[in-house]
């Protein structure tokens, strides 16, 4: 397999996100539609059912640097959330506490990250954690 360059990989992800071909439980798109470098992205995660996150929609900001997809994007929660891998002051997802980022592979996408964050929320240890008031931001 040849290595698809950063920009064409991001265009593929953008098209998938725009056409809504991904799963319903998350969405993502460019933060600025004229950002020709395609660096800054917005994402949303729908809280998993049977948890304290049920029916909540979480906003996250993603930053795909020059080395994406060889290196993972930086992710930060905009909406307040109580999760072990999320820094409670800044909302940043901490690399060493989130397995998907720690063992990042080139084949992973922004969608992988959003869906895996949703799985974190649904973990038995995390699903009943007390959550901040809905609608508050970091």
């Amino acid at each position: 397999m040849s290595k698809i360059p950063r920009s064409f990989r991001l265009l593929e992800e953008l098209e998938k996100g725009e056409k809504g071909m991904g799963p319903e439980s998350c969405s993502y798109g460019l933060a600025h539609s004229d950002d020709i470098t395609m660096t800054y992205w917005n994402g949303t995660i729908l809280g998993p059912p049977h948890s304290n996150h049920e029916n909540r929609i979480y906003s996250v900001a993603l930053e795909c640097g020059e080395e994406y997809p060889d290196k993972p994007p930086k992710i930060k929660f905009i909406s307040k959330i109580n999760l072990p891998c999320v820094n409670q002051t800044t909302g940043k997802v901490e690399e060493d506490r989130f397995e998907t980022v720690r063992s990042w592979k080139r084949s992973y996408t922004m969608e992988t990250l959003l869906l895996d964050l949703r799985k974190e929320m649904a973990l038995p240890a995390n699903k009943k954690l007390p959550q901040p008031t809905e609608g508050t931001n970091f």
Partner: protein, 151 residues
């Protein structure tokens, strides 16, 4: 990495030894399917004084699948969107393996010479182009000056 198909090697050699006037395409050293491209704006078009940067990638299925091409330089054109994506039939439904990197880049250059606002990708630009063609052309010139490098 799998070895590079003979066809890609031949195409690359010819692009270097016998380049198309006004078009330059060089593969990246660490990815021989990924080309850094420049295209000179065609004469008598609003892009004539500019040199535009593009990137081109040959997917695994090339030549069964078309190359992927994108503008890196901002450009005001009804068939090129704000992310540099190009609406061109030979890059999608009318691709044929008889086409090559050089013919595709020539088609892109021809698209600069004859914009087609009736089949737009950038809708706002196309609307301008159809309603106030003179103003649109002036804007295309202005953007060329501002964002493209000089010949």
């Amino acid at each position: 990495m799998a070895s590079l198909p003979k066809r890609i090697i031949k195409e690359t050699e010819r692009l270097v030894l016998d380049p198309v006037p006004g078009i330059n395409a060089v593969p990246h050293e660490d990815n021989l399917r990924y080309f850094q491209v420049t295209i000179e704006g065609p004469q008598q078009s609003p892009y004539e004084d500019g040199v535009f940067e593009l990137e081109l990638f040959l997917p695994d299925d090339y030549p069964m699948e078309a190359p992927k091409v994108r503008f890196l330089t901002k450009i005001y054109h009804p068939n090129i969107d704000r992310l540099g994506r190009i609406c061109l039939d030979v890059l999608k439904a009318n691709w044929s393996p008889a086409l090559q990197i050089r013919t595709v880049l020539l088609s892109v250059q021809a698209l600069l010479a004859s914009p087609n606002p009736n089949d737009p990708l950038a809708n706002d630009v196309a609307e301008d182009w159809l309603k106030h063609e003179d103003e649109a052309i002036a804007k295309a010139r202005e953007w060329t000056k501002q964002y493209a490098s000089r010949k």
